[in-house]
């Protein structure tokens, strides 16, 4: 029982990672209605940015804003060059962004070579504290949880307490009407895509110290983020919180009891059954058309 509690606490860091990885995707999908299949590769680029920052003498705290800017810029380029033409064809956006993902993987491999990069955690976050269980709880995991909460709060303020957020929500509610009222919907899409991509970059930067950085590291996170969206829905940020919370905790505990594959399989079955009951996710946004 004690070990289950330890796993439950460990699960919170998995939840935090899921939240950080999924929130960028959720913002984009919620507003523009497209899923960015290159999301995992954006995370990967963020992680490489952190690796470069690390080699230049910086640490994770510096890497976070740098990765945000780098990947937001990348997202801007991808949006302007490709995605802006295909917003009305969401299925084909999947394919085009998958192509973007492949290209990013090849390019990063050409630049950084096939070897793995290791990024150290900041010195003050070394070590950990003891909880109920036998295993220490590392400070870095606590840091992840804090970062996840901060990111959610920032996203909340951007979407619900700012001028831009008002426009974004107007576009989400009724794109045509928002356009008629003088909102530049294409610009809103562009900004929100860059913002969501930047969040993916942050995810990469904070993931780098707990994962070896490689060109293929992103894809599993992308798929997990998709599942968070499907389960949680994109109606509000609570969808991301609930989706990551359920998936992260269930997967950690089930993986501990059985093994990781059965854990994933059970979670997957649970998600499919859950959307049978809530087709738009737990916090789905119900459109009035």
């Amino acid at each position: 029982m004690e070990s289950i509690i330890t796993q439950f606490l460990n699960g919170f860091s998995v939840v935090a990672i899921l939240m950080i990885a999924a929130v960028g995707l959720a913002v984009i999908f919620g507003v523009a209605g497209v899923i960015n299949m290159a999301h995992g590769e954006f995370i990967m680029v963020g992680a490489y940015t952190a690796a470069v920052v690390g080699q230049l003498g910086g640490n994770t705290f510096i890497a976070i804003p740098v990765a945000f800017l780098v990947v937001a810029l990348l997202g801007l380029v991808v949006e302007r060059s490709i995605i802006q033409w295909i917003y009305d064809r969401p299925l084909e956006t999947l394919l085009a962004t998958w192509g973007v993902g492949i290209i990013l993987q090849v390019v990063m491999k050409l630049i950084f070579g096939p070897e793995l990069y290791y990024v150290g955690a900041p010195k003050i976050l070394d070590g950990g504290f003891r909880t109920i269980g036998l295993l220490p709880f590392p400070w870095y995991r606590l840091f992840l949880i804090v970062i996840a909460i901060i990111i959610m709060i920032i996203t909340y303020f951007v979407l619900f307490r700012s001028d831009l957020g008002l426009k974004v929500r107007a576009v989400r509610r009724n794109r045509t009407m928002a356009g008629c009222l003088g909102i530049d919907t294409a610009k809103v899409d562009m900004i929100i895509f860059a913002f969501g991509s930047g969040l993916a970059g942050v995810a990469g930067a904070v993931l780098a110290p707990i994962k070896s950085v490689s060109t293929t590291m992103g894809f599993p996170y992308a798929v997990d983020s998709f599942m968070v969206l499907v389960l949680g829905g994109v109606g509000s940020l609570w969808g991301v919180v609930a989706g990551s919370g359920l998936i992260g905790e269930a997967e950690t505990i089930l993986s501990f009891i059985y093994n990781s594959v059965i854990g994933k399989l059970l979670v997957f079955i649970f998600i499919v059954l859950a959307i049978r009951v809530f087709p738009k996710g737990l916090f789905g946004y119900h459109e009035r058309t």
Binding site: L95, I103, V106, V261
Partner: protein
């Protein structure tokens, strides 16, 4: 009183298409007699791939369901067949350690065939079981999702996760599936009879595909693709049509997988994974979705150029592949066949004017 309306309907099998098809089929069927063995082995593979692409075309090109996990059904068909072949092969060809069970089972500490695999010793049973399970899985999946109006992006993402999980399960349970190494060394089945079998099955499936999409059902499927709400208001049970075509498609994919396993002589978790599934989508898109012959052309072209280019330039091929995804979506939406067809009809219109 029902009135008979006269509507122009394209013939089911136009004469020129039949003549061209007979020519291609004859060329492929006789190729092993005069061609290189390497190309022959590629031909068999590509035929399987083109069935796989056709199965994606049926659900995506004609019905508008994008599945990014079609490899699941291909993989199920392939693994059932390969396991059966391997078990039979190991029974008469003892491994290095003298056992009569597949080598990957021995490496993982099994001493005899696990009980649930005993029925797989019978090859026809194994093939039928593989096809049955694939179709059953598609049916269950379809009932759960399509009945609740879950499709589009959600369906694509869920199927993607499905194939990722199957891939991980294959790697994890290596005692039963060969794990990371896949299943190898189960005798050679790349004989000319097998090629002919694959060819016949391909022909049958393409004819079925043409009949299915050129009939009344096909018209309903296309109307579901173009506007499912209207199709529903017309009184058609959209969910049931979706489930039906999804099952047909998964059956085709599983058959392709079963034949691929026999022909290729090696299969791995990659043949059930998301990357393979999405590649299949791109073959369809390149050839021309919403056409029956498009997947065939797309699979041969893309896979063919991969085999002839990637030997020298592995990473360039990946780059080309990535660019192809973007190109097909942005520029050439209708694929090769669709573009030619549009050009042809525009030309006819110009001439008649």
């Amino acid at each position: 009183m029902v009135q008979n309306r006269q509507v122009y309907k394209a013939p089911m099998f136009p004469l020129w298409a039949v003549i061209a098809a007979v020519g291609i089929v004859l060329a492929i069927a006789t190729y092993p007699f005069y061609g290189a063995a390497y190309v022959t082995s590629l031909l068999g593979k590509f035929l399987c791939f083109s069935i796989f692409a056709l199965s994606i075309d049926l659900i995506w090109g004609f019905t508008g369901i994008l599945s990014l996990g079609q490899g699941v059904y291909f993989g199920i068909g392939a693994y059932f067949t390969a396991l059966s072949l391997k078990i039979n092969y190991a029974a008469v060809n003892p491994t290095r350690y003298g056992g009569t069970i597949p080598d990957f089972m021995e490496w993982n500490g099994l001493t005899e065939l696990p009980g649930f695999m005993v029925p797989l010793q019978n090859l026809p049973f194994a093939i039928i079981a593989g096809l049955f399970f694939a179709t059953l899985l598609a049916f269950i999946f379809g009932v759960i999702t399509f009945k609740r109006h879950i499709y589009g992006v959600y369906c694509a993402v869920i199927t993607l996760a499905e194939s990722l999980i199957l891939q991980e399960a294959i790697i994890e349970y290596q005692a039963y599936t060969g794990g990371f190494n896949g299943i190898t060394d189960y005798g050679t089945h790349a004989q000319i009879n097998v090629l002919w079998l694959i060819l016949v099955v391909t022909i049958i499936f393409f004819i079925i595909g043409r009949i299915l999409t050129h009939s009344r059902i096909g018209t309903i499927l296309k109307s579901i693709r173009d506007n499912d709400t209207r199709a529903e208001f017309m009184g058609y049970n959209v969910a049931n049509y979706r489930i039906f075509v999804f099952c047909v498609s998964s059956f085709m994919a599983a058959t392709a997988g079963a034949m691929y396993a026999a022909w290729n002589g090696i299969i791995s978790f990659l043949d059930a994974g998301p990357v393979f599934s999405i590649e299949g989508v791109i073959w369809t898109a390149v050839g021309g979705r919403g056409t029956i012959i498009g997947p065939f052309i797309g699979a041969f072209l893309v896979k063919g150029s991969e085999y002839f280019l990637s030997g020298k330039l592995a990473w360039t091929w990946q780059l080309i592949m990535g660019a192809l995804f973007i190109f097909v979506v942005l520029v050439m939406r209708d694929g090769i066949v669709g573009t030619i067809g549009k050009w042809w009809s525009a030309r006819k219109k110009r001439i008649s004017n």
